[in-house]
Symmetry: C2
DNA sequence: TATATTTGTAACATATTTTATTACAGTATG
DNA sequence: CATACTGTAATAAAATATGTTACAAATATA
């Protein structure tokens, strides 16, 4: 199972891009995603820690972008919400006495690193603004 | 959480490639992966349904490759064990009355489709033999 | 032919991760 | 001062992944 973190974060950021002059409440955002507002606030907390958005507490509070959506790319958003692209690893440590077991994770890592590089290149070419303009 | 299906399957196939003349038992394979033999047999069942390996039941039974490891690529193995590369979707159906909610999954899908194409291209260039030769 | 070994598979149990809910303190607005 | 927000912790529920037990069926070989 893949967590919805990236998708949720993109959704939030797209909304903020569409309403650049408003502080949007977590409740409003949650209504669009169809998600619990607390979970929205958690993703917003993550975005805040990366200085991508800023929030205002109290009545009429909410969140707005604090970066130019033309200047931030999906790659950066990806990195804030996802470790790396990969096709998984077996859960347990493989047998170090087997030549295959000894190197399997290392070789998978190398494969996945290449994948990440390719995906990163793709995501780097798409700004938040680009993505938002599709709506 | 990403399931270890792909990693486990690659591990199995690498072992089979390394011992092309033997029927390897699920117990032996499980010992290298450090995994329950039943789970190994489940992945083998999947490989059998794709005609990649063949098994012999009974004493001294086991599994061996039924394809040329130089002729099968990681892309094919990927497709047998993984649906698609993606960065996830929010769990619930988004609000169709919101312009963003209405199109978010469609736009994410398009993004992920591009990702898959790039990754597929990479995996297509690596045969099982190539991968196994790293050990 | 009897025994031992192995696959195939179902049923069930446990562990882990993801999502949801409740609760409430703190803060700003009007 | 009442209202409407954020921030965050604690807990619960749901979904998925992994592990275990059990046993029928198959087959080599002694």
């Amino acid at each position: 199972m893949i967590s919805g973190k990236f998708a949720i974060t993109i959704h939030i950021l797209t909304l903020l891009t569409k309403f650049p002059n408003d502080y949007l409440s977590s409740e409003f955002i949650a209504g669009s995603i169809n998600l619990n507002p607390v979970l929205v606030r958690k993703e917003i907390a993550n975005l805040k820690s990366h200085n991508v958005v800023e929030s205002k507490e109290g009545k009429n509070g909410g969140t707005k972008l604090s970066v130019d959506p033309g200047k931030i790319t999906l790659k950066e958003i990806f990195e804030m919400t996802f470790e790396t692209i990969n096709l998984g690893y077996a859960k347990n440590q493989p047998n170090p006495d087997c030549p295959v077991g000894k190197k399997i994770n290392q070789n998978l890592s190398a494969l996945y690193a290449d994948m990440n590089q390719k995906v990163s290149l793709q995501l780097e070419g798409i700004s938040l603004e680009d993505f938002s303009n599709q709506f």
